[in-house]
C-alpha cells in the first residue's frame, strides 16, 4: 500500500474583529485586497491539485465567514473546482457566530461542506467581551441551531479555558450550554499568552490576571470529567467527540501525515518537506503572481525528526502510538530507539503500554510536554 493520503488546509486571514488572545496570521478585513487574495488562493489550489487531490479539506482563519456572500461563494466554488475529490472524507469550514448566516449555510451545503467548526470560546457574555469577541452567547446558540436546521449534524464547538477571570463555575456553565447543543464534537483549548497579542501586552503591563496553574489543572480535570460523562470521548489533548466524529483532518496532523498549506501564513507538509507561506497578504498575492508560489521557508524533515514527530504528535492522541506501525514505518522498533526514555517516563508514571500501543497515563495527559520533550533526541 503506497497510497498517499493528504489533507488540504486553506487559510483566510481576514477578520472583522481582532480577538485579544489571537496570534494567528490575520488582518482587519477593511481595505484589504480580498478579491485578489481569493484569486491568488485559487492559483495555489490549482498548483496543488496537479499533484493529488486531498482527502480532507479544512478552511480556517482568521475568519472565513467574514467574507461577504459573493466572496464566500467564490472561495467555495474555487475549492470545488480545484480540490474537490469525490472521495473526500471531511470538508470543514470554520465559522464565527456573528457572521454565519442562512445564505452562507445554504452555500456550504450546496458545495459539499460536511463539517462546521464554530468559534464559541465561552458562553459567558462578560468573558466574551473581555477576550474581544464580537458575539454574545445567544448568537452562538442560534448559529449552532441554524446550522443544524440546515442539516449540518457534524458540528464542532470551539471553547477556551483558563481565561482571565474565568472561574470553575463559569466554565461549568459554558460546558453545560455546549453539551446542551448536542454537537458531536467539542474542542477546548487553554489560553496561551503569545507575543503580539493584546493580552500579552496587558500581561507585560501587569494588568492581566490569569488563573493559577492549579486552577488551570483543576479546570482541565473538570472538563474531561464533565464531557466524558455526556458521552464526549476524550480522544486528543484538547478534543472530545462522540464515537465516529473524531476530526479527520486534524488527526492527519497528529498521525504525522502530509497536507497542503494554502494561503498567507499557511504551513504545509508535502513530499517530506515542511514549509511555510509568507504571512503578509500583499506579499502572498505578489508571490503567487510573480513566482507561482509563496513559500518563504522549507525544511526537509530528516528521518530522526520524522521519528520524533511521530511520537510527540501521536502521543497527543489518547489512543497513543502503535508499536507495530512504528516498526513498519521506520524499520526500527520503538524500544530500540527510545528504550531509556520510555523506561524513565514509565517510572515517572507518565506513559503506559496497552495492547501494543504506547500512550499517556492520566498524569501524562496533564504533563504532556514533559513526555513529548523526552522524545526529542536529535
Amino acid at each position: 500500500m503506497t497510497e498517499i493520503q493528504r489533507g488540504a488546509y486553506i487559510h483566510i486571514p481576514f477578520c472583522d474583529h481582532i480577538c485579544y488572545y489571537c496570534d494567528f496570521n490575520k488582518v482587519f478585513m477593511k481595505n484589504q485586497p480580498v478579491d485578489e487574495y481569493l484569486e491568488a488562493l485559487s492559483k495555489e489550489m490549482n498548483h496543488c491539485a496537479m499533484d493529488e487531490l486531498p482527502i480532507t479539506i479544512y478552511i480556517g482563519g482568521g475568519t472565513p465567514t467574514a467574507l461577504n456572500e459573493k466572496q464566500f461563494e467564490r472561495l467555495l466554488s474555487n475549492v470545488d473546482r480545484f480540490l474537490m475529490n469525490p472521495a473526500v472524507k471531511e470538508y470543514t469550514v470554520e465559522a464565527n457566530p456573528e457572521s454565519l448566516n442562512a445564505a452562507k449555510l445554504e452555500m456550504m451545503k450546496r458545495y459539499g461542506v460536511t463539517r462546521l467548526s464554530i468559534g464559541v470560546q465561552t458562553f459567558d457574555d462578560r468573558l466574551l467581551r473581555e477576550i474581544g469577541r464580537a458575539h454574545q452567547s445567544n448568537d452562538a446558540e442560534q448559529a449552532v441551531r441554524l446550522a443544524q436546521e440546515y442539516g449540518f449534524d457534524n458540528i464542532t464547538v470551539d471553547l477556551m479555558f483558563a481565561l482571565p477571570g474565568q472561574t470553575e463555575h463559569v466554565l461549568h456553565q459554558s460546558l453545560e450550554r455546549a453539551i446542551h447543543l448536542h454537537t458531536p464534537h467539542i474542542s477546548i483549548y487553554s489560553l496561551q499568552l503569545e507575543p503580539k497579542t493584546i493580552f500579552y501586552n496587558r500581561m507585560q503591563k501587569g494588568s492581566l490576571k490569569l488563573p493559577s496553574e492549579d486552577i488551570e489543572a483543576d479546570m482541565y480535570g473538570q472538563i474531561i470529567l464533565e464531557l466524558e460523562k455526556h458521552g464526549l470521548h476524550h480522544y486528543e489533548i484538547s478534543n472530545f467527540s462522540k464515537p465516529g466524529y473524531e476530526g479527520i483532518h486534524n488527526s492527519m496532523y497528529w498521525r504525522n501525515k502530509e497536507y497542503y498549506g494554502i494561503g498567507a501564513g499557511a504551513h504545509g507538509y508535502w513530499s517530506g518537506v515542511r514549509y511555510a507561506n509568507v504571512g503578509s497578504v500583499k506579499k502572498y498575492i505578489e508571490s503567487m503572481y510573480v513566482d507561482g508560489h509563496a513559500r518563504i521557508s522549507e525544511h526537509k524533515v530528516s528521518r530522526s525528526e520524522r521519528i520524533e514527530e511521530e511520537m510527540f504528535l501521536g502521543l497527543r492522541l489518547m489512543e497513543g502510538v502503535n508499536k507495530l506501525d512504528f516498526k513498519e514505518k521506520f524499520g526500527l522498533s520503538m524500544d530500540d530507539v527510545y528504550r531509556l526514555q520510555i523506561r524513565q517516563l514509565k517510572k515517572q508514571g507518565l506513559v503506559h503500554e496497552k495492547d501494543g500501543w504506547l500512550k499517556l497515563t492520566q498524569k501524562g495527559i496533564f504533563l504532556g510536554n514533559n513526555v513529548f520533550e523526552a522524545f526529542l533526541i536529535s
Binding site: 487553554s190 489533548i237 507538509y269 525544511h299 514533559n370 526529542l376
Partner: protein, 606 residues
C-alpha cells in the same frame, strides 16, 4: 633645547573620566579621528573597548593606551597619549594607577544628566594624582541638554572652575577642536630626567600567547631600550627587554621609551603575576632608589565556587581558568568539591563585577555553562581547641560546637555625599550592621560619612542601594580594616529533605530568621515546579527556622491549536528541553542556575 627635550615638551598624557553612557568611548573615537590615527574605513565604532563584553556592557575592563600625533593649528606637532580607565568601583585601584600615568584628564559630563557618583569618585582619584582636569560637557545636542546647570553643578559638587568647560557633542564632533586646543594649553608636559635611573609605572599588562606578557608602562624617569635588563621593584626576577613600542592603535615597535612616553615592553615574561599593576619597572643594574608611590598588592576580596553544569566539562573549566589567569593577576582559583555540584573550583575575585566578568567570559568565550555559588568573604574561625581556620566556603564552616568565635573582615567605608542624603546613608549603613565612626564636613554642600562595615554587607548591593538612595551623588571608597568578632552562624538550605551544601550561607544571628524566610521564599519562586512536591527548609544546625513547599507540577501540556504549524510545537519543546540543560539536578530536584546566586542576593536585599 635638544631634540629629546623638545619632544618631551610636546607630549600630553591624559585620560577620560566619565560616567557610563556619558560618551567616553565616542569622544575617544573623535580624538582618534581628529588625529587621523585611523582612517574612516578602519574606524570601528568605539575602538578602544576591544573585548565584546566591554562593548556590550559599555564598560572598560582591560586598559588601553594609544599614542596619537596631532598637528595643531599653531604648526607644532604634539604627541598625545590617551590612557583609558576602567569604569567600576571594583577596579578603582587600576583607575588610580592609570590616572597616575597621566598629567591631565578630560572630565566628560552628560549635558542632561549632570555629575554622577562614579564620575565624582574618579575625579577625586585624579585630583589626588595632581591631574589637570578639563571639563567637557557632552551631548549638548540632546533636546534636554542644560549645559549651564551642569556647569554650575561641576562647580558646586566637584569644586572645579567650569567657566571654560568645552561644550561638545562627541557624536556629531562639535567641540572636538576646542578639546584638542585645551589639551595642549592646559595639560602640562611631563617633567622628568631621561638620563636618571629608570622608573616606569606599570598600569596594565596582558598575556599574549606569542610574546608573553605585554607590559603597559608610563616612563616617569629615565629611558628603557630594547636589550635592557629590567626588574619589577616589588618582585625578584629580572628580564631582558625584547620589544619596546606603542599602539597608535596599530602596534609600532620603537627602540626606546623615554620620559613621558606611554607604551609597552615585552621581555619573555611568562605570567601577569610578575607584572603587578602599580609596580615600578627599573633597570636591573642601575635601579632607581625607590619605587614610584602607590603600589598595592591586590588580594581577592570575594570568593565563590564555580562548577560546570555538565560535570564532564571539569577539565575544560580548569583549562579556561588557567587561560584567564594568564591575563588577570587578581584571579585566583583552586579545586574544590561539593556534594551537590560535584567537582569545581573556589575562585577569588577583587569584587562582584570582577566575578561577574570572569563568569561571563567563561560562559561566552569558552562555552562552559556554569553554576556559581553565592560569593563569600573569608572568615577566620577560632576553634575550641585553640587552633584557627580560614573559611571561604560557607559549607566548610565547622560545626558550632567546635567554634570558639568567628571573625569577619570589616572595611572602613568613606561615603562622600551631598548633605541632603546624610540621613539616608546613615540609615543604610545602620541596616548593614555598620558602626558609625565620624562625619567630616567638607564644605557647605558635602559631607564625608565614615562607617565601619562588614565586608560581606557591602559586597553586593550596597553600592547600588547607595546610588539609588542618593540619586547617584554619593561615592563610596573603602579600605580593609581588619577582622572583628561577630555573632555569625551557618545557615543550611535543605531541598526535599537533603542539605544542599552549595546553598549554605553565613548570616548574622540577629538576621537569621528573616533571611532564612526570605531565602526560602525566593527559592520557591526560582525553582520550577517538579513532578513531585519539594519542601524547602532553612536550618541552623539541626533546627529548622523556616520552611516552604514547591507544589508539584500539575499541568504542562500545550492545549492550543497550532494547526499544521508543527515546527512551532517542536521549537516550544526544544526550548523547554534547552531550559532543563541550564539546570542542575541536585538529588532528584532540578535547580536553575540563578537559584544558587539568589541565596546571596536575598540575604542582602531585605
Amino acid at each position: 633645547m635638544s631634540d629629546k627635550q623638545s619632544r618631551q615638551s610636546r607630549i600630553r598624557n591624559f585620560s577620560i573620566i566619565a560616567h557610563i553612557d556619558h560618551g567616553k568611548s565616542t569622544l575617544a573615537d573623535r580624538i582618534l579621528e581628529a588625529t587621523q590615527a585611523l582612517t574612516q574605513r578602519e574606524m570601528k565604532a568605539q575602538t578602544l573597548d576591544a573585548m565584546d563584553l566591554e562593548r556590550e556592557r559599555g564598560i572598560t575592563i582591560k586598559l588601553n593606551a594609544v599614542e596619537l600625533t596631532y598637528k595643531a593649528p599653531n604648526g607644532e606637532t604634539y604627541i598625545f597619549h590617551l590612557i583609558d580607565t576602567p569604569g567600576h568601583v571594583d577596579f578603582s585601584y587600576e583607575v588610580s594607577r592609570s590616572l597616575a600615568a597621566c598629567e591631565g584628564a578630560l572630565l566628560v559630563v552628560d549635558a542632561a544628566q549632570g555629575v554622577e557618583a562614579q564620575t565624582l569618585a574618579n575625579v577625586y582619584l585624579a585630583l589626588e594624582n595632581n591631574l589637570e582636569i578639563i571639563p567637557v560637557i557632552n551631548k549638548i545636542d540632546l533636546p534636554n541638554a542644560d549645559p549651564e546647570r551642569v556647569k554650575q553643578e561641576i562647580e558646586d559638587v566637584i569644586g572645579l572652575d567650569a567657566s571654560e568647560a568645552v561644550l561638545a557633542s562627541a557624536k556629531t564632533g562639535i567641540g572636538t577642536d576646542d578639546i584638542l586646543a585645551q589639551i595642549i594649553d592646559k595639560i602640562p608636559a611631563p617633567d622628568g630626567d631621561p638620563n636618571a635611573p629608570l622608573q616606569a609605572l606599570i598600569f596594565d599588562s596582558l598575556y599574549d600567547a606569542y610574546r608573553g606578557v605585554v607590559v603597559y608602562i608610563r616612563v616617569v624617569q629615565g629611558t628603557v631600550r630594547v636589550g635592557d635588563k629590567i626588574k619589577m621593584m616589588a618582585g625578584e626576577k629580572t628580564f631582558e627587554v625584547l620589544e619596546v613600542g606603542v599602539s597608535t592603535p596599530k602596534i609600532e615597535n620603537r627602540q626606546e621609551l623615554s620620559v613621558g612616553d606611554v607604551g609597552f615592553i615585552t621581555a619573555s615574561i611568562k605570567s601577569v603575576h610578575d607584572t603587578q599593576v602599580g609596580d615600578t619597572v627599573t633597570h636591573a643594574e642601575h635601579p632607581a632608589e625607590k619605587p614610584l608611590p602607590g603600589y598595592r598588592k591586590m588580594n581577592p576580596m570575594v570568593y565563590c565556587g564555580l562548577y560546570p553544569i555538565d560535570t564532564a566539562r571539569y577539565d575544560d573549566l580548569r583549562e579556561a581558568l588557567g587561560r584567564l589567569e594568564l591575563n588577570d593577576s587578581a584571579l585566583q582559583y583552586e579545586p574544590e568539591t561539593s556534594e551537590a555540584l560535584g567537582f569545581g573550583f573556589r575562585c577569588g575575585f577583587l569584587g562582584l563585577l570582577h566575578m561577574d566578568i570572569v563568569q561571563e567570559r567563561l560562559e561566552r568565550e569558552f562555552n562552559i555553562d556554569l553554576i556559581a555559588t553565592a560569593p563569600s568573604v573569608i572568615y577566620q574561625v577560632k576553634l575550641t581547641d585553640g587552633s584557627s581556620v580560614r573559611v571561604g566556603n560557607p559549607s566548610e564552616m565547622p560545626e558550632r560546637k567546635f567554634i570558639a568565635e568567628v571573625e569577619e573582615p570589616y572595611v572602613k567605608a568613606t561615603i562622600m555625599t551631598p548633605n541632603d542624603y546624610v540621613g539616608a546613608i546613615m540609615e543604610l549603613c545602620q541596616r548593614k550592621r555598620g558602626e558609625f565612626v565620624t562625619m567630616e564636613y567638607l564644605d557647605a554642600n558635602r559631607t564625608n560619612v565614615i562607617y565601619d562595615l562588614p565586608l560581606s554587607e557591602i559586597m553586593y548591593d550596597f553600592f547600588d542601594i547607595l546610588k539609588s538612595s542618593t540619586k547617584g551623588y554619593a561615592s563610596l571608597d573603602y579600605e580593609m580594616d581588619g577582622y572583628r568578632t561577630s555573632d555569625l552562624v551557618k545557615m543550611d538550605i535543605l531541598l526535599n529533605g537533603e542539605r544542599v551544601d552549595a546553598l549554605s550561607v553565613i548570616v548574622h544571628q540577629e538576621f537569621a530568621y528573616d533571611r532564612g524566610k526570605a531565602i526560602v521564599e525566593r527559592l520557591k519562586e526560582l525553582i520550577p515546579r517538579q513532578q513531585f512536591e519539594v519542601p524547602i527548609q532553612a536550618a541552623i544546625g539541626q533546627k529548622i527556622i523556616s520552611r516552604s513547599t514547591i507544589k508539584a507540577l500539575r499541568k504542562n501540556v500545550l492545549a492550543k491549536c497550532y494547526g499544521g504549524d508543527v515546527s512551532r510545537k517542536r521549537k516550544l519543546l526544544e526550548k523547554q528541553k534547552e531550559g532543563k540543560k541550564r539546570m542542575k539536578a541536585v538529588g532528584s530536584v532540578e535547580v536553575p542556575q540563578e537559584a544558587f546566586m539568589a541565596v546571596f542576593r536575598m540575604s542582602h536585599d531585605d
